[in-house]
């Protein structure tokens, strides 16, 4: 289990600051050997169409609960020292950061694996939905088969 206070999970409309989040993790500590992090960004193209903007909707309450469950699962599989997950909601433009996952561990293998595990699990189990604005109008993004496959890898 990630120690109390050493897991930060936030859903917010504002941008986040990767450098500040990672600095906060390592600040004053000398036992962390590895911090793997991931930032997912809004792209200007999806499924062959231009995307002018997107709006992220979520299920307040369940979102935080689902994210905490994913992080706890990761902490059961790997020896983790700290985890931060920040997911934005609301309207975002191409180039805007959407999600941040950062994982601190003594060793890099655990940090990389847990970071990717949390992202894969988030994609299939955390209640967020994207609606894109394209030249052809608005459309809800469909779940991707590749995301199900990525998440399923970890239960092999």
């Amino acid at each position: 289990m990630v120690k109390a206070g050493l897991m930060k999970i936030v859903v917010q409309t504002e941008a986040f600051d990767l450098g500040a989040e990672v600095d906060a993790m390592r600040n004053g500590r000398t036992d962390i050997g590895a911090i793997a992090s991931f930032v997912g960004l809004a792209r200007d193209m999806n499924e062959g169409s231009g995307v002018q903007a997107m709006t992220l909707e979520h299920y307040p309450g369940m979102t935080e609960k689902a994210l905490a469950a994913l992080v706890e699962e990761a902490a059961t599989r790997w020896a983790l020292l700290d985890v931060t997950v920040i997911h934005r909601v609301g309207r975002l433009l191409p180039g805007d950061p959407i999600v941040l996952v950062a994982v601190a561990s003594s060793h890099r293998g655990a940090a990389f694996a847990a970071c990717e595990y949390i992202m894969d699990a988030l994609k299939t189990r955390a209640p967020f939905w994207k609606k894109e604005e394209t030249p052809e109008g608005e459309r809800w993004v469909d779940a991707r088969v590749s995301d199900d496959a990525a998440a399923a890898r970890w239960s092999a």
Partner: protein, 87 residues
């Protein structure tokens, strides 16, 4: 049995409804998520279409995703939504 039912994303738009209280008709202590879905489907229109067998939707009971055979506790918060697409 009274339930609080929430809809999200495309389903919220199709149903024109974000949440409602639903009285699950004739429910016993073993009423399941499938019973609720069947009652909503019987409303016809977008309800019948979006909740048809084989359509991809998810059900959460008290904020945990469940299978359709999950038993519903009294006063449960039930959410019905499309497969998630965050991150």
């Amino acid at each position: 049995m009274m339930l609080r039912v929430l809809y999200f994303a495309r389903l919220r738009e199709r149903f024109g409804l974000a949440e409602e209280n639903v009285d699950l008709a004739g429910a016993t202590a073993t009423a399941t998520a499938a019973d609720l879905v069947a009652q909503l489907r019987a409303r016809g229109g977008a309800w019948a279409e979006e909740l048809a067998a084989g359509r991809a939707f998810r059900v959460a009971v008290n904020q945990d995703i469940v299978m359709l055979d999950a038993v519903l506790p009294e006063h449960a918060e039930v959410a019905i939504f499309p497969p998630v697409t965050g991150g």
